[in-house]
Amino acid sequence: MKKKINFIILLLITISLVYLLNNPTHNTPPLGKFLNPYSGFWLNGETDQNMVLDKINLKNLEDEVIVQYDSLLIPHIYAKTDKDLFYTQGYLTALHRLWQMEFQIKEVSGELSEIFGSKTLYKDRSQRRKGIVYAAKRTLEESKKDIKTYNLLNAYVDGINDYIETLSYKDYPIEYKILNYKPEKWTLLKCFLLMEQMSDMLSMGDMDIEDTYLVNTIGIEKYNLLFPEYTNDLEPVIPKGTKFNFYNKNKYITNNTIVKDINIDIMNKPNKYIGSNNFAISPTKSKDGSSYLASQPDLSLNLPSIWYIIHLNSSNFNTMGASLPGAPGIIIGFNDNIAWGETNAKRDVVDWYKIEFKDSKRKEYKYGNKWLKTEKIIEKIKIKGENTFYDTVVYTHYGPVVYDKNFNSNTNKINLAMRWIAHDSSIEYKTFIELNKAKNINDIHKALEHFDGPAQNFAYATKHGNIGLTIAGKFPIKWEKQGKFILNGSNPEHEWQGMIPYEHVLQYQNPKNGFVSSANQHPVDKNYPYYYYDFSYENYRNRRLNDRLKSINLITLNDIKKIQNDNFSYKAYEILPILLSEIDTLSLDSTLEKYFNKLSNWDYFSNTNTESPAIFVTWWKIFKEKLWDEFDTLKYSYRKPNSYNTYLLIKENKDLEYYDILKTNKKENLSDLVNYTYKLSIDSLENWKKNNKNKLNWKDYKNTTIKHLLNIKSFSKSSVDIGGYNNIINAASEDHGPSWRMIVKLNKIKTEAWGVYPGGQSGNPGNSNYFSLIDDWGHGIYKKLLFNNNYIDNRKNIIYEKKFNN
């Protein structure tokens, strides 16, 4: 008996040991599974790229495909059929980026709690309530109508899945092993969810609810002073004074009462500092007579990088550039004939409608003199280690009721439905697939008609010397100020008035001055017959960009590189003289004087090893905090005036009640505030120095970090050696910046391109390529991209080549 007990005890020990080591405990991966030398993390180290590439096995091809990789690990695919081309793109993208592709989808569709447990529940609920999946499903239905695009998309999906099928635990990307979950099958819906993610990131930001609350609190006059829609010195995308030969025949409504009693805490919003620039140069303005296209999308700086560079070649395509992992085709790039690049074209395409339900069952809501029926969708949110969470979201014909008694609405009375252009079905992929093979400006124009959003400023250039810019997207027609504040959902007059027809969309080609450009500024001046609005347009980078382009007579490749890496702070150039003139220089001690002199002699360039940008940025931040301290007493979500308007206000107003610092008994004026905040900032900087080897330099102070998507420190790169900041062309801030720098030169003989981005083609932190381009990116060193129509011509510059057959 004793022996039996002995055996049972030992057996139990062994089994539970295996069990424990094969399953995760709180916050640690399953140790045995993770650390063993057969399938654990040790196998995720990759220093020999050929060992990775040798695993490629394209099984479901129609015809022959040749795959090459160059020394940057950029794949070059030469296929006979388009289907094979996109199939291979899917397969190869997954090879380097599978985890990131899937994680982005989980995040946007509100499924993170499956992996992380209840700590991401709020985030998941926010995503679900915005109706992201609902929108992607509508687009999926729509996509079936265009069979050609549909087939190519499906080929891409098949490629991803064929790669996933080859994997067992030991091959999983490291993040799966750390978090202990496994890749799921890819679907067409996920490709559309990725586009919704772009919309979520680029077109979701609005201030309707905050501004309604503000108007109710501070009154419309003060609101208009602090948050003007236009200022005098705008430099819009479409040059000032452009005439339009059409009218907006829609009605105007002036009766616009502001909804009262808004007490809502707003869900998290995308970072408003996202900003990009692009420009095209015509042959008349370039030194070598070629056309140039430069594109620099500024987004959240992440690893694995948001972009994957790829070259696609078949009888219909020969295109290269930045693709989004999870989306077929090229998003920002070029082909033999044309080049194109996008910047975000913000427009108020999100509106909020106050909904009046008939009763607490919420089955009907008021619309005119009728009651319309609602639809309820129950969102099932799976949570790791806990019971599934069910959230009921009520849908109106406008869209989902995001804020209600179940979510963030502090009184039961307020129900807000969201009308968002991204909820409409759309066919963006068609735009990109057509752009990828466009031959001339007409093809581009046709391709952009299918582009619904997130609205973008598309700049383009062709090898025949045409350049142009189109603000593509679906834009609702609105009456003056419609949707600036919360709208009344029961009043049919508050509906959007239809969409601006494509022939009225803003665009211009071949201007006399030889260039087109954009940098997230106002699209156009007030001459445009349609009302447009956004709460935050750029007014620094655009002016600097145009100044630079105007000041150079004949532009060279080198000039363009310099412009993309330009560190001039227009903001400091305008603001600093005002601040410095208010400083009481007699009262400065030696430290304060030292910094004062430094700032006075600054040339406004935010270069890596200078001190002045750190002083200015800190001072302006603290100054704004103290200036707008009146806002801190507000209880619910609000916003403060932006830098540009703050500058205008302090320039033009010596007396502003806001100069007063609430904390003190004294009534401060501008000069008091300037001197007070100056001392505070120098204190803060001296403090920083003490903790950082007594050396202040911009690069370390700013600490630009390329963050891994899971925010794992050793998978991220911090303190990157790069200058610039928000509102500077080289827009590298703490965590945002130029996510891809591309320059394309086109002429009748050939297309050449240069590019660099903060990351590497391989998304595996254990691959030697993972961080590879970050330093070059920071220093503005570009890589010439290998681009040939025939694969034989690549042979000198490749590390891998293999032919696959069906």
């Binding site: 055996f7 062994t14 063993n36 030398p37 399938s39 995720n44 220093t47 932190p765 030697s768």
Partner: protein, 124 residues
């Protein structure tokens, strides 16, 4: 059978382990050795522990030097382990423990079926 030979068998079985099986299948060889070879518990635990542990150390050193520690240097920061060497040792202890316990589990099963001979000194 000789203690060293058992270590060798355990070690070789773990070193040339077929990687498509789940990693914990390494328990079967030490288990069988424990079942078929009559030795005391301590002796068996040790041969399982050392055999598998050492095999893992070799395997890990091979893998890690093959990829220039590119992944392990990042993982030690996540797991808060001081150095790659220490992580290697921790990992091998995991393999060793499993091997050791598997081995004495095999032995204890065997002992159910055999009549106890005149008592040997119990060393466990």
């Amino acid at each position: 059978m000789n203690f060293l030979i058992r270590i060798l068998i355990n070690g070789i079985s773990a070193y040339y382990f077929i990687s498509f099986l789940p990693w914990w299948s390494i328990i079967f060889i030490p288990f069988l050795l424990g079942y078929f070879i009559n030795e005391n518990y301590f002796n068996h635990f040790l041969s399982g522990f050392i055999g598998i542990g050492i095999a893992w150390i070799f395997l890990i050193i091979n893998l890690n030097s093959g990829n220039e520690s590119i992944i392990s240097e990042k993982i030690i920061q996540i797991l808060n382990v001081e150095s790659i060497n220490i992580l290697t040792i921790y990992s091998s202890i995991i393999g060793g423990c499993i091997g050791g316990f598997a081995s004495i589990t095999g032995l204890s099963l065997k002992r159910i079926f055999i009549k106890t001979k005149p008592r040997k000194k119990f060393n466990f």
